[in-house]
């Protein structure tokens, strides 16, 4: 139950878009999310795996079986589409039983198995309803049941949650994860929602302009992004242009000089400095050995569980997420929370805070 992309190349006819040099492997029972902005090639990856497009170069293996040249109907993959694709002229039960019908199962047997599959997604009592009479969340569950009922070799999810409203989306991602774990099946999940990917994936591959630029566990991607762009794409990020201090024990940034571990970076080397907003503490809560900086509050928003404060510090702007409700005008930056990334142009980020304009 594994999926492997080996040096896959694909270019859309008459355009520069596509996917290039993709190597990716999804283990047995692993849930891998592919995220990236629109046009980054993540949906192309799914099309290549499902068989709706053939790569120009490279192989795709499922369970060690080379499926590169097989048509979609011979690939034995469960796919849940963005629009669900429930057949409107069939009841929920008939939809789920359909792949079993194609496999030549007797009517009684396939209906029993489809009923079980519906029960697993909590929709047993909806078996005889038509898709048009069901809510988005219910249709989603039926599509999931249908994609898994024939014990496929792998599961493909193409932005299955994007058509749902926010509250239902959170509920459904738990449901998807539960069903995926029960089936213990290698899963490729395509999404543009980084929060969704962080919350359900075992590993995340982040794509940009047709290439995978980092693969890792959600924690690795969040804590050790390889570039400014990845840091800004996943979660909130304070990002500044900085320069390693001459003694390599600190870094100079627009908000001031911060002591930290400079790792491999040479003295005076230009770097990008990343600090997550929740890693910064109000100054009065500071443990010993942290960088204390004074600032001026620019915006203070109450978000319920947390509070988001933007402060002007030195030449820069700092975003702080804190649970503290007390007012503060000094911040503490623990050295361990500071990450130095390769220097990159400021423009190369998605929604970074930090540089004052």
């Amino acid at each position: 139950m594994t999926i492997q992309f080996q040096s896959i190349d694909y270019r859309y006819p008459g355009s520069a878009n596509g996917v290039f040099d993709v190597d990716l492997s999804i283990g047995d029972g692993e849930f891998l999310a592919v995220i990236g902005p629109s046009g980054s090639g993540k949906t192309t990856l799914l099309k290549l795996l499902a068989g709706f497009a053939r790569p120009a170069a490279g192989r795709i293996l499922v369970d060690g079986r080379d499926i590169t040249d097989l048509p979609p109907e011979k690939r034995r993959l469960g796919v849940v589409f963005q629009s669900y694709g429930l057949f409107p002229h069939m009841s929920a039960l008939d939809n789920v039983a359909y792949p079993l019908k194609i496999r030549g199962q007797a009517r009684a047997e396939r209906r029993a198995r489809a009923a079980q599959a519906l029960e697993r997604v909590g929709l047993a009592q909806w078996a005889h309803s038509m898709p048009a009479a069901m809510s988005g969340g219910q249709q989603q569950r039926i599509a999931l049941a249908r994609a898994l009922v024939f014990s496929p070799s792998a599961l493909l999810l193409d932005e299955p949650l994007s058509a749902l409203d926010a509250a239902l989306r959170v509920e459904m991602r738990e449901e998807i994860l539960r069903v995926q774990r029960a089936a213990n099946i290698a899963t490729l999940h395509i999404t543009h929602d980084q929060e969704e990917a962080l919350s359900i994936a075992d590993r995340i591959a982040i794509m940009r302009a047709g290439r995978i630029i980092q693969i890792g566990t959600p924690k690795e991607l969040y804590d050790q992004p390889v570039s400014r762009w990845v840091a800004s794409f996943i979660g909130q990020a304070n990002l500044w242009e900085g320069r390693v201090g001459p003694d390599r024990r600190s870094v100079r940034t627009p908000i001031g000089e911060l002591s930290c571990d400079t790792g491999e970076h040479a003295a005076d080397a230009p770097v990008t400095v990343l600090i997550r907003p929740e890693a910064i503490l109000p100054g009065d809560l500071a443990p010993a050995g942290t960088n204390i900086l004074a600032g001026r509050v620019q915006a203070d928003r109450f978000l319920g569980a947390a509070r988001r404060v933007d402060l002007a510090v030195g030449e820069g702007l700092v975003r702080v997420d804190t649970h503290s409700r007390a007012p503060f005008d000094t911040i503490a930056v623990p050295p361990k929370s500071i990450r130095l990334l390769p220097p990159e142009p400021v423009s190369d980020s998605v929604n970074a805070i930090g540089e004052r304009t």
């Binding site: 499902a50 993959l77 694709g85 057949f87 002229h89």
Partner: protein, 257 residues
């Protein structure tokens, strides 16, 4: 708006109502309504051998036209829909629209020129008549079905079925045909009504023994008013009957699929 609707219905319904009244009238000249009640006009129409033959010819032509519309129109629409190339789609669309744009008379004279030659002496055969009806009605089938395919996003359902391991012919039988049944049915209603009422081309190219009902009907207007009315009412019933029959057949076949 209400007034316009009312006036429209009046213009539409009054002639039909008067035809109906006239068909049962004993004699009708220079009065608003006919005098007396009789069913003899209907009996005369029924007994007239040329009307009998025309009635049968019309039914044959309608059935053949409907069947050929499904057999040719459905694959044609599917081919146009599936073709990725823009040029193919455009060419097919123009070809399918041409018979609507070209006046029937032009087509009819063209047929006469081509099919009265020695190499293709088929003018007057029922086959040629059916061919002409198919050419005239095919655009309605292709356009209706094509629009339905696009609106349904048929391709998405086919992709889903493919991932569930359904090969092409299975997808066609289980997904494509049932989903398209409604639009095929509604296009056949139009096709049947058009074919029954078609006059221009039928009048030009039908042979003496294969004349359709509207062609023969024209003769009736040189005779008694009551006879003409009765013969026209029969055409109206025939049109309604053909539409109902074609829709019933289509729904029955879709249920079986």
């Amino acid at each position: 708006m209400l007034l316009i609707t009312f006036a429209y219905l009046l213009f539409l319904a009054t002639p039909i109502a008067l035809l109906f009244v006239g068909s049962f009238g004993e004699s009708w000249s220079n009065t608003i309504l006919p005098h007396g009640f009789t069913t003899r006009w209907y009996l005369e129409v029924a007994a007239d051998p040329s009307f009998q033959r025309a009635f049968v010819s019309s039914i044959k032509v309608v059935i053949a036209t409907c069947v050929l519309n499904v057999v040719i129109g459905l694959p044609l629409a599917y081919a146009i829909y599936s073709s990725a190339r823009r040029g193919v789609r455009l060419a097919a669309k123009i070809m399918a629209l041409l018979p609507i744009a070209v006046p029937d008379l032009v087509l009819g004279f063209g047929f006469i020129l081509v099919f009265s030659s020695d190499t293709a002496p088929w003018l007057g055969s029922i086959g040629l008549l059916i061919a002409a009806h198919v050419i005239l009605t095919l655009p309605y089938t292709v356009n209706t079905v094509l629009a339905d395919m696009q609106q349904l996003r048929l391709h998405d359902y086919e992709q889903v079925a493919a991932t569930l391991s359904a090969p092409f012919w299975t997808r066609l039988k289980d997904i494509v045909l049932p989903l398209l049944a409604t639009s095929v049915l509604s296009s056949l209603l139009t096709v049947a009504a058009l074919s029954i009422g078609e006059f221009q081309i039928s009048n030009l190219i039908s042979g003496f023994l294969s004349r359709t009902y509207p062609v023969v009907l024209l003769q009736a207007f040189y005779g008694a008013t009551g006879f003409a009315c009765a013969a026209t009412v029969v055409l109206l019933l025939l049109a309604i009957l053909a539409s109902c029959a074609s829709s019933l057949t289509a729904s029955a076949s879709s249920r079986r699929a």
